[in-house]
Amino acid sequence: MEYSFELREYAVIVHVDGRVDESSWEAFGAGLSDAVRQASQAGVAKVVINLAELDYMSSRGLRVLTVAKREGDEAGIAMLLASPNDIMSEILAISRYDKLFTITDTIEAK
């Protein structure tokens, strides 16, 4: 799993690829916390997580999303999921995370 940040005028975009599972959830969680901090410092109101290049995300990764969403809520930063590929769309539906998060078709969610 690898991730990178991109600061846009409306959000911090988190690009992530590979697998988020038992071996990478802690690094992914630290990255999301960092993204919330960067969004707060930059004065943007959103963190958008780009799911297009993920192989899959296990329950560990999904639960890290919840932890990060709570951190975002406390900082007044909204957390959005964007561009899920077919596998991630399926996992979001199976986990019912599509009911917990706003999911957008593209990362251009302004």
Binding site: D21, E22, Y56, R63, T66, I87, E90, I94, R96, Y97
Partner: protein, 320 residues
């Protein structure tokens, strides 16, 4: 080793309504599409082969009770939910054929849905029976006596004629009970709950882990459960909620999700997962959907040997 499920529903026993049965019959008649069946065997084949499980059967509604046939002749039973009544009657039939009257219970915890079958457990009235109740809770006897006090039940605990013994188990210690190796682990649940690892003389292992919440902020401690589940032949796991429910509206309700169960079993390299402790508000179609989704999630996230994902129902037998 043979695992027999007598009760698989969580929190509260349920029964299908008349309307639910009518819907199944209507569905079956429509699926048959005017076909004629020569006899009951032919009709049964149609039900088994051409109807889904939810359409042609039911997951049942008795609360948790699981029998494990193992060891050297005595009974092994996990929990005393409402399914215990049926087990008790069936065991008396087996006793009449010469089976040992020693009953080894392993109590996950003492909430009502896990002890409510005991007042209806007929062998407890047999002076020739021995009932050993293994529990991690020091107040197990108090819980069973209390539910038979006059305000709750007409037959007091002291009227029971069997030799009833309480055996305290400590997490981290290993025990040998009538030819079965037993280990236990403390789980996160109101008033605490305990999982059990039972291994027979042939090395077959079943895990019973119900009413166990895996907390969002304590994912690092899941390593203990992965070790406890290690290479088990069957893991019976609390899968009451969706993952989203377990971390939102139903957080701190003491239960887990199908996705966390699959992940723990994958990491533990367990061979088979039985979805268990079904949500009482779920109908058969809901449980079947959850089962299908769990199988799909296992496929999507598999990174090692395949995990067989089955869905427990009242009456299911699994031979290991």
């Amino acid at each position: 080793m043979l695992v027999r499920f007598w009760g698989t529903r969580g929190s509260l026993p349920v029964a299908p309504t008349a309307e639910a049965i009518r819907c199944k019959i209507v569905h079956a008649l429509l699926a048959a599409d005017g076909r004629r069946f020569g006899d009951a065997t032919e009709a049964r084949r149609f039900v088994d082969d051409e109807l889904s499980f939810a359409a042609g059967a039911t997951y049942g509604g008795a609360s948790p009770c699981v029998e494990v046939e193992a060891g050297i002749g005595s009974y092994f039973i996990c929990d005393m939910g409402s399914g215990l009544r049926s087990f008790g009657l069936d065991s008396m039939r087996r006793n009449a054929e010469g089976h040992s009257k020693v009953y080894n219970f392993f109590q996950s915890h003492l909430h009502w849905d896990h002890i409510m079958g005991f007042p209806f457990f007929a062998p407890a009235f047999d002076p020739g029976a021995t009932i050993r109740i293994h529990a991690g809770h020091p107040d197990a006897e108090q819980a069973l006596r209390r539910q038979q006090e006059e305000i709750s039940f007409p037959v007091p605990f002291d009227w029971l004629r069997a030799d009833i013994q309480f055996v305290h188990l400590n997490p981290g210690d290993a025990y040998e009970v009538d030819g079965v190796q037993v280990e236990t682990i403390l789980q996160h649940h109101s008033h605490g709950s305990y999982g059990f690892r039972l291994t027979d003389g042939d090395g077959r292992t079943v895990i019973y882990s119900t009413d166990s919440e895996h907390k969002l902020e304590k994912m690092a401690v899941e390593a203990e459960f992965i070790h406890f589940f290690r290479e088990a032949d069957l893991v019976i796991c609390d899968t009451m909620y969706s993952l989203a429910d377990s971390v939102s509206m139903k957080e701190d309700w003491g239960h887990s999700s199908n996705l966390v169960a699959v992940d723990l079993c994958h990491q533990a390299r367990a061979k088979c997962l039985a979805l268990f402790h079904h949500e009482p508000t779920y109908g058969d179609e809901d449980i079947q959907r959850m089962h299908q989704e769990s199988i799909r999630y296992e496929e999507l996230t598999r990174n090692g040997p395949p995990l067989d994902v089955i869905c427990a129902y009242d009456g299911l037998e699994v031979r290991l």
